[in-house]
């Protein structure tokens, strides 16, 4: 059997997810035993439109992006969204909570009309996505897990429970016990709670867990004296496109 051909594409994003792939280092060589990379701007200059699996980083922020995404979808048998921007819009979606004209003027100045840009969205809002690798950036281990699943024809085991699980397994002191707050209780687990383990708090970069109890968390955050403004900002960082409206 010939090796599946894979290609990487980027839209609006920092390329941190593709960098994560490059940073696989030795494991990347193991991956290359099983696949042929035909397009990967971050790491090589060659390009081909003949591929089986497309890994897409970044969010869709322009009308022009839609056509490119649809082309990729047409060429690929399997499409995988990698990283927060591609899976949910990521922090790009922060612009969606402000008037578009204000945002465009702020970024592009007096020539703002020359730069066509609209609401930032995950690529799943434009094309069908078969798999999602969450995180900002995605974790190496989860990317490799998804690759192995694709190669073996199995379903990747992506957690659908809150970050609290990872924190408890790591033996962390809950950040709420330390007078801080986080959005871990409504965020999808799967990163071993790396930020909390290292002394920070969870910002929710893996996006909302399915069926998050957002109302309960708003109540808890208020109980812990987070102002409505802080609360809105905290929730907006990674969840803008995912939060139930209203």
């Amino acid at each position: 059997m010939s090796k599946p051909k894979i290609a990487f594409f980027d839209f609006a994003g920092c390329e941190g997810d593709q960098l994560t792939v490059v940073n696989l280092e030795e494991a990347l060589l193991d991956v290359l035993e099983h696949v042929e990379i035909v397009s990967f701007r971050e790491a090589m200059k060659e390009h081909s439109d003949d591929y089986d699996i497309a890994f897409i980083e970044g969010s869709c922020t322009r009308v022009a992006d839609e056509a490119r995404l649809k082309d990729i979808r047409k060429n690929a048998k399997i499409v995988v969204a990698i990283g927060a921007c591609a899976t949910s819009g990521g922090i790009n979606a922060l612009k969606n909570i402000r008037p578009l004209e204000t945002v465009r003027k702020e970024v592009y100045g007096e020539n703002w009309k020359d730069y066509d840009t609209y609401r930032a969205r995950g690529i799943g809002e434009v094309i069908d996505v078969d798999y999602k690798v969450y995180g900002c950036p995605m974790t190496q281990s989860e990317f490799v897990k998804v690759v192995k699943s694709l190669l073996t024809g199995t379903q990747p085991d992506i957690p659908n429970y809150p970050m609290c699980v990872d924190c408890k397994q790591a033996g962390n002191v809950c950040v709420f016990e330390k007078g801080q707050t986080c959005v871990g209780p409504i965020t999808r687990a799967g990163c071993d709670a790396c930020c909390v383990t290292e002394g920070a708090t969870c910002w929710g970069c893996r996006g909302l867990v399915n069926d998050p109890n957002v109302d309960a968390h708003k109540e808890v955050l208020e109980k812990y004296n987070l102002s409505v403004d802080e609360l809105t900002k905290r929730m907006a960082t990674y969840f803008t496109n995912e939060l139930p409206k209203g």
């Binding site: 073996t152 659908n160 609290c164 209780p185």
Partner: protein, 343 residues
Amino acid sequence: MTAKTLSKENFKKFAENLVKSERTIGVKAKETKYEFGNINNADEIVMDYDVTLRSPRTFFQPPKEKLFDFKLGANTEIKPNIEADPFVLLGIHSYDLKALNQMDIIWDENNADQHYKARRNAATVIALEPTQASEWSFWGSMDSSTVDKGYDLLLTDIGNKYYVEVGTEKGANLLSKYASAEDATNDDNTARDKVRSELPNLCKADRKVKCDTDGITASMKNSYNNAIWEKLAEKCYSCGSCNLVCPTCYCFDVKDTIELDLATGQRTRKWDGCLLEPFAKVAGDENFRENRADRFRHRILRKTVYVADKLNGELACVGCGRCSSTCLPDITDPVKILNELCS
């Protein structure tokens, strides 16, 4: 069984000797809390802690463990993996030891679990009767202030010395090897009895389960359709924190993972929790406990009915209060739930 005493000074020497010669797991500070962990220096050991973040089950059922390595192909190979280096578990409180005793029964059921048993046999348990209770503790109401089995040594702080009950030969050997203990006198016995009788009062007055523990199982069996589950579960995150800190939660999930060579791999198991959405999900996406309220109720009924049935009626809640303290929306406290349903 014999009883000894160890002056606080001699206890310190004992701890120093232990740490020097044995893999010692004890209680130490973690930020504003306490945790069980490897002790490298006897000065790290905290004996007057209230409760630890996680229960000591971590050392008998690790959060994640490899069960075996496998190799695929024509000649499939399986290599079991049992990690059970001998260790001394120092300072486990009575309620946690009661939980561990229950787990000994659970893991011995049907196909006895070799991984658990190997680690349990590898452990020398030095238990400790609590001198502090956390603000959430209610072990005083759950018959868990003291235990009568499961330890190799059992320490009770009787002021300027520890009363040491020797539970096994292993405990006796450890004590004679590393400590200069004295025989307990009648006065020591009296002092220990007095401390013991007052232990339940260490838990705060508002942390009392008001019903008779013997009647809890029957009351809870009748509570299946009570509106309380829906009401409380409205605020439930389904985050499983209550499961994961509990000393009598033992559920796990088993996964096979394959290496990038696509030929070798491991079977692992990791902690699971019945509050988590995927817990009761099976092939075909069927979920037997799809609603939060169903999962929320299940945990409480496990502790009071289902697991209790496996333990000759002994409740599988020991009153450590960890679930109550970890639950941010404050809905999971067994004291409130039992007092509402069993009065």
